[in-house]
Symmetry: C2
Subunit: 203 residues, 2 copies
C-alpha cells in the first residue's frame, strides 16, 4: 500500500516541541523545524498540517507525557507523600538546570505567550494545569492522611499555590538563580504548608 513514513512521529514531535520551546511560536520558522527534524516542508505539511496544527500536535504530545510523568511521580503511599512532593520540585529544578539550553518548561512558556491569543493552545494548557493541580492535590491529601498536613486545609487551594510555585520557579530559572537558591526556595515553599495543630498530634 505505498511507501511507509520514514520517520517516527513521536521523535519528530519531540524535536518540534524543542524548537518551539527554544524560540517561541512566532520565533520559530518552518525552516528551523525542517532543519531540526530533517524533514522537508512537504513532509511536515502532509503529516501534520500547517504550522499551527503542527504546534498543537507537539504541545499535546508534550502535555500528555508531562501529565503522565507528573501523576506517576506524585502517586504512592501516604507515608512518603511529602518526600514525593519535594522530589517532584527538585527534579523539575534539576531537569531545567541540566538542560543544555536551560529552556523554560513548555507549559510555563506558552501559558504566558499564548494566553488570549491562541484558543486551542490555551485550552490544552488549561487542561494540563488542571491535571498538575489534581496530581498535587492528591499528594496533599495523602500527606493529610499521614498527619503531615493540617487536615483542615483545603487541598485544592494549596495545590494551586504549589502550581504557582512550580511555574514561578520555572520562569525565574532563566535569570540565573543558582541551584542552592532554588532549593532553598523550594524548601521555604514546602515549609509554608500548614502543619497539623499540636492538639491532634499522634504517631
Amino acid at each position: 500500500m505505498g511507501r511507509p513514513p520514514g520517520f517516527d512521529r513521536r521523535e519528530v514531535l519531540a524535536a518540534v516541541e524543542r524548537e518551539f520551546r527554544k524560540n517561541g511560536y512566532d520565533g520559530t520558522s518552518l525552516d528551523d523545524i525542517s532543519a531540526a527534524t530533517g524533514l522537508g516542508r512537504g513532509s511536515l505539511y502532509a503529516a501534520f498540517g500547517d504550522k499551527h496544527a503542527l504546534f498543537l500536535a507537539a504541545l499535546g504530545d508534550y502535555c500528555d507525557q508531562d501529565e503522565a510523568s507528573g501523576a506517576a511521580a506524585l502517586a504512592g503511599p501516604d507515608e512518603t507523600a511529602m518526600e514525593r512532593l519535594r522530589a517532584y520540585f527538585i527534579d523539575s529544578v534539576d531537569r531545567q538546570l541540566n538542560d543544555p539550553e536551560q529552556l523554560a518548561c513548555m507549559a510555563s512558556r506558552f501559558t504566558v505567550e499564548l494566553a488570549g491569543r491562541d484558543r486551542d493552545a490555551t485550552a490544552r494548557l488549561s487542561q494540563g494545569f488542571e491535571a498538575q493541580r489534581a496530581a498535587l492535590a492528591g499528594c496533599l491529601r495523602a500527606a493529610q492522611r499521614n498527619g503531615d498536613l493540617d487536615p483542615a486545609a483545603e487541598p485544592v487551594t494549596l495545590a494551586t499555590l504549589l502550581v504557582v510555585d512550580f511555574r514561578g520557579i520555572g520562569s525565574l530559572i532563566g535569570i540565573g538563580l543558582d541551584r542552592a537558591e532554588l532549593v532553598a526556595v523550594v524548601d521555604a515553599a514546602l515549609a509554608g504548608l500548614p502543619v497539623p495543630p499540636p492538639s491532634a498530634a499522634a504517631s
Copy 2:
C-alpha cells in the same frame, strides 16, 4: 532650533510596551507599533533606533516605573508591613484582571520569552527581579521587627519565594482562574510565611 517632536516620549513608549506585551517580541511588527503609536517608521527609527533598541527602551521604561511603584507600595511603617504585603499582591491581581486584554505582566512575560536569547533584555529583567526581591525583603524585615514574622527566617529567601509566587500568579491568570481563587492563593502563600515562635511572643 528646528521642529520639536510631535509626541510625548513616555506616552509612545507606553504604547510600544503594550503592543510588545500583547504579542511578544517576535509577534510584534513595526507596522503594529506604527499603527499603535500613530508614528511612521522613520520617526520611530530616528527617535529610538531599531526594533531591538525600541523594545529595550520600552522595557526599561516599564521596569523603571514598576520598580518605583513596587518600592513605594512596600515601604512604610513596621506595624502595617504585612498589610502592605497583601495589598501588593491583591493589587497586582486586580490590575491584571481589570486589564482589558488581561495581559500578563511585562516582567513575567519576557523573562520566559527572552531568557537566554536576548542578553540586554535579560540583564534589565534581572535587575528588575533584584529590585522586586529587595523591596519585598525590606518589607519582610519590617514585619520581623514588628513581630509578625519569625526573626530566625532568612528574609531574602522568603522574598525570593514571594517573587516566585508573584510571577507564578501572573502567569496563571491567563488560563482563567477567577478572582476568588487567586485571592485564596495569595492568602495561602502569605499564611505560609513563618510566624515567630510562641516563646518569643510579646506585644
